[in-house]
């Protein structure tokens, strides 16, 4: 459903993406692995329209996205869960969720329904719905960020390193949540450094290094590839 072709993006002088092509299929969990600085976040930002690409095309459900604004892209159903569990720290939990549904503000009932279903899915958020989001723990903030993205009723969820900076136990919980979402049929593009955890749940894996895709295949294939294994699965940033 998402098709990226020959994408080139620069950060000022730094060429962060050099000719990246990939595909994400409907209902599948596509994972982009790579070390820090490989250009993973840049890739997601470019897909989400936050960064403009220099070259290349991004097709989503046969619609070209590379020239339109983020607000339009969100309306198309591509929603980003930003890195570092970014929530609005001074807004309450429920307000954070509502902010996620802003593209559908007209349909009040629908939004209310979604809010209820989010509370059902993440009971901890219901307990804290009046609390300022900044007071939540790291794991809870990550859940809130995911729930906020779901409020936009995404066709494809772009997740940027959901496990960064979280304690191992909570990382497990977050990956379980991602797995559940994927099993429910939500299409996800997941960007991760945590190769072991991510490859355990992914349907398809891309390896990104220095702004280039160096590997594409299923998790089984990656196990066979010794070089990749040493480069990423044994990476010291994975701890």
């Amino acid at each position: 459903m998402l098709e990226v072709n020959g994408l080139v993006t620069s950060y000022g002088l730094i060429k962060a993406l050099r000719n990246v092509s990939l595909q994400a299929e409907k209902g599948k969990l596509t994972c982009i692995l790579g070390p820090n600085g490989a250009g993973k976040s840049t890739l997601l930002f470019t897909i989400a329209g936050i960064l403009k690409s220099d070259m290349g095309s991004i097709k989503f459900l046969n619609k070209e996205l590379s020239k339109i604004k983020t607000s339009e892209i969100v309306k198309e159903g591509l929603v980003l869960v930003p890195e570092n569990r970014l929530v609005f720290p001074h807004l309450s939990v429920s307000e954070n969720l509502l902010a996620g549904a802003y593209s559908r503000f007209g349909k009040k009932n629908e939004v209310e329904e979604d809010l209820e279903s989010m509370y059902k899915r993440f009971p901890i958020l219901k307990e804290r719905y009046l609390q300022e989001a900044g007071t939540l723990s790291g794991g809870e903030q990550q859940m809130l960020a995911v729930a906020r993205a779901l409020m936009a009723r995404p066709k494809l969820l772009l997740m940027d390193e959901p496990s960064v900076g979280l304690a191992p136990k909570i990382v497990n919980t977050i990956f379980e949540i991602i797995k559940t979402l994927s099993d429910e049929g939500i299409s996800i593009v997941l960007v991760e450094q945590n190769a072991v955890k991510a490859s355990a749940i992914a349907d398809h894996i891309y390896l990104l290094d220095q702004g280039e895709i160096t590997f594409s295949g299923t998790p089984d294939q990656i196990e066979d590839n010794d070089i990749i294994k040493r480069a990423y699965l044994g990476d010291i940033s994975e701890s």
Binding site: F45, S71, L80, V87, L91, Y102, S103
Partner: protein
């Protein structure tokens, strides 16, 4: 008793300052920018409405609504010309200067529409009454009540509506809002229009209490709004209200005990003092800290 009377006068008039400071804080909260053309927008909208009234006699309510509409429009003009094009590190300074230039422009337009320098402004309820020994002007009381009412509407819009939610989102973390696909350009236009509407109502109330409009009104609005906002604490909405009331209290007491000519001097001395001693204003220093934190992120 005299002190009480002075304080009541001060609070009643201070409520007008609060409204001005709220309009300022709204923009400062969202855009982190200062709109120096704010007061002259209000002046131009008032003068323009009076001019239309002189041609078509639209009546006091006509003036009221025309002021609101024109002020919102002029504010959007200011936004598109002075704020929208400037972003980045120096954007804040450049747009401040740019809005100052537009201030000049709007003021000059006002003086074209107001060749006599002063014009009478329609007022209502010009009566006063005594509460025991306290002298209370009904229009000032009315001003105060409307100010309270307006403030509640302000908070309602900001805290209970979707646009208010997005506005607060953008003001807390514009980058994140952008990542979520919030159209921040639209939100900032909305903020400007809203601040224009709000300011126009405040201006209408003040002008009808004074029952005249002079070319200095724009400058006066900008300055009092800015000072009240700085006194209360930049970016804090309760701070803006408190700052406005505080400014009103100080001014009426200074007028009473020292004389009218000392009013502004004391205001500025207090402002200078607060800036030096507690730069965040009366209501804490949230924003000052945020700015520092941002500059520390290397």
């Amino acid at each position: 008793m005299e002190f009480l009377q002075t304080c009541i006068d001060g609070l009643l008039f201070g409520s007008a300052y609060s409204l001005l400071a709220l309009s300022f804080s709204l923009l400062f909260g969202v855009m982190k920018r200062i709109n120096l053309a704010f007061g002259s927008t209000l002046l131009l909208s008032a003068v323009f409405s009076l001019w239309i009234d002189s041609l078509f006699s639209i009546g006091i309510f006509g003036i009221f609504f025309l002021m609101i509409a024109s002020s919102a429009l002029i504010n959007i003009y200011v936004e598109k010309l002075c704020f929208y094009p400037h972003s980045g590190k120096y954007g804040a300074t450049v747009s401040m200067i740019s809005s100052f230039a537009i201030w000049m422009q709007l003021d000059e337009m006002s003086s074209f529409l107001l060749p006599d320098r002063t014009a009478s402004f329609p007022s209502f309820l010009p009566d006063s009454f005594f509460l025991k020994d306290l002298f209370i002007r009904i229009d000032q009381l009315f001003l105060f009540l409307i100010a309270v009412f307006m403030t509640s509407i302000f908070f309602y819009v900001l805290y209970k509506t979707n646009y208010g939610l997005l506005l607060r989102g953008v003001s807390f973390d514009g980058e994140l809002a952008k990542k979520l696909g919030v159209n921040s350009g639209k939100i900032s236009s909305f903020a400007f229009a809203f601040s224009g509407i709000f300011g126009a109502i405040a201006a209408f109330l003040i002008l009808s209490t004074e029952s005249q409009v002079t070319p200095f009104f724009g400058f006066w609005c900008t300055l009092k709004g800015l000072v009240a906002m700085m006194l209360g604490g930049i970016g804090s909405l309760p701070g803006a209200i408190i700052g406005g009331l505080f400014l009103g209290l100080v001014e009426s007491n200074v007028i009473n005990y020292l004389g009218a000519e000392y009013r502004d001097i004391c205001t500025y001395l207090i402002l200078l003092f607060i800036l030096v001693v507690k730069p965040g204003g009366i209501m804490g220093s949230a924003l000052l800290r945020d700015e520092r934190a941002a500059s520390e992120r290397i």
